[in-house]
Homo-oligomer: 373 residues x 2
């Protein structure tokens, strides 16, 4: 794909050729050969217990704290999980807090729910807890939406000290925390970093998903929260009408988990993504002009570049595409259209040769552009 075609480093999706078709086929064959047709019927709202059991076993194997099947609710992915939490825990006009920058599509979900969004900064140690503390002295937000591990878009992970302080703040201000942890198992330290739930089990609803660690097409994820929080979510009208999410994909994934296929694939992509990440970080460090800076990410999918403050990366994008490379502009990721001088790059969607070509095009483009200004 090198050459004239645009290399879009903004795409935050798995690389198509890496999607685990063989494992999926093996899991589907396994499931289809078993007796029973439960997966063709409406599932219980919380999802089938056998699937929750397999997910709990899987998460317990990869994280420092045991996960209970009863503390999981099956979703059609993290986006569905987020909307479900908003449906049950917010009302239009409520104030919520997000990191600035944050995951851009989450901002659209908040818009659709009629929520008032405020932002707090995020730095190399994650969410700025001092800024949140200050905000909480004048505002009473209903919840905080955070991507605490391998943040989207910045790649950073909340430090242990800030986790503890965040948990204290949440308790003091009765603040619900929605932790979008879809990149949780793609961190460098991996198993060693606990879910944010460990810091505040009663206040954190953790959103998980197989989209980033197996396949987005499953539309399968989970909410990990206390039984009381889940009981409240289970009263959702759409959920009660439709029954539990994605029973067919869930049945296949239950086999993939039981057969160890998810474990094996996760080990593979952790290594592969880490290699691509190191590759991109090396390339960027070697080729970007000195006025462009970034923090090496802790894992996940993304690197966040900061250009000089007068640059508007959204305005630059058409010229960049002409030069054969694209990215996600920083302003897209900001509740207030801020961070206009930043951009999000993804290091998982392309092979190393395309990453090389993409980074070199970007560096050459930025060198020429920054000189011209």
């Amino acid at each position: 794909m090198t050459g004239a075609h645009v290399i879009d480093l903004g795409i935050g999706e798995p690389q198509p050729r890496l999607l685990p078709l063989d494992s999926f086929r093996q899991a589907a064959a396994h499931r289809l050969a078993l007796p029973g047709n439960d997966y063709l019927q409406y599932a219980p709202e919380q999802g089938w217990g056998s699937l929750r059991g397999e997910i709990a076993r899987f998460l317990t194997g990869w994280t420092p704290h045991p996960v209970e099947p009863d503390e999981l609710l099956i979703t059609a992915g993290a986006s569905h999980g987020l909307d479900l939490v908003l449906s049950r825990c917010t009302r239009p006009g409520d104030t919520i807090v997000v990191e600035d920058p944050t995951y851009f599509f989450a901002l659209e979900v908040f818009r659709d729910r009629g929520l008032r969004v405020l932002g707090v900064p995020i730095d190399g140690d994650g969410l700025d807890v001092d800024a949140l503390d200050e905000l909480l002295s004048t505002e009473r937000p209903r919840l905080l939406y955070t991507v605490p591990v391998c943040n989207n878009p910045t790649g950073v992970t909340l430090s242990p000290g800030r986790r503890a302080r965040l948990a204290g703040l949440a308790a003091r201000h009765d603040l619900l925390i929605v932790a979008d942890e879809v990149y949780h198992l793609l961190g460098d330290a991996g198993p060693a970093v606990p879910s944010l739930r460990a810091a505040a089990p009663d206040r954190v609803l953790s959103l998980g998903s197989f989209s980033k660690i197996f396949a987005p097409g499953l539309r399968l994820g989970w909410i990990h929260a206390s039984r009381e929080r889940l009981a409240h979510l289970l009263q959702d009208g759409e959920l009660r009408s439709a029954g539990g999410a994605s029973p067919v994909a869930g049945a296949v994934m239950e086999s993939a988990l039981a057969l160890g296929l998810q474990d094996r694939f996760l080990k593979e992509i952790r290594e592969l993504y880490a290699a691509r990440r190191r590759h991109m970080v090396r390339l960027l460090a070697a080729t970007l002009p000195p006025e462009v800076t970034f923090e090496p990410p802790d894992g996940g999918y993304y690197v966040w570049l900061r250009l000089p403050g007068h640059v508007d990366t959204a305005a630059l994008l058409p010229a960049a595409a002409q030069a054969g490379v694209a990215y996600r502009p920083g302003s897209l990721c900001s509740w207030r259209g801020g961070h206009a001088c930043c951009m999000r790059l993804c290091f998982v969607h392309y092979d190393e040769p395309d990453l090389t070509e993409g980074c070199e095009r970007l560096a050459a483009f930025l060198r020429a552009h920054l000189r011209a200004l």
Copy 2:
């Protein structure tokens, strides 16, 4: 299942043993043997074009008007479709109109969206269009939610004359119509009854689903509407974040449609459900006390019984369950808790012997109860 076990004639789900496991396995084997892994990736928000093409072909074969693939949007079932329409076309506090009685879980979805619900009566010819006309002289509802064919819970179908008048009213008052047509292909006249969309193509969003005609566990359905309406829905934040709904189930269903398995299964259950319906109608006519009345349904899943006005079927339910039979109380289906003297029965979930036993238990219970009052 005769004997002490409660026969719950309220259950509105397919009978587990009828779920088409063999067809599902055949379709899955077909799909898994094809090259390509598109279904493991994020789908386009509208759903894969090849799946929409198969659904369009299928619907065109069963209905009097051709259906275009570009006028379909893939959903995770009708409940998701309904919530998606509400997300994009209403704001909390908006007034909407429903039939009274209506599908009870839809009322919970409206509650979750903060909508103000008003009802208009429904009789043997469907929605009372005169009553709607009168309501529209004083109210400006944002939309009408209707189950126009084989209504849930009453089993009736909107008459051709009323269809035309409803379309006229919608045009005059700029009223959006959400037609929940999940029972559309389960009517007696079947192919001869057009979707309500045919009466007002620009104003009707028709919700379809494979839940009632193949398997609920697919979580797969569609919205059939004009390109302009769909373009508006496609801006939904959750949809943009998650991509198109249920790609894995959709890939299998695409094969089931292409192989003619859905057509064959639909023919089978249409006959079987019609036989069960006639069976239940005969039984009820023969055994119910004369003060309990009903309209023979036009198809679908349900019969709606009317008891004398002083009876509260919700209050009676525990005693009925003691007598080995259950139902859905009428008040559950009413926006205002009305129709307390009614009940919804389903004729598809049990074999004829269990339907017989259930109806006889119900008739005996009602005879004893109505005499005691």
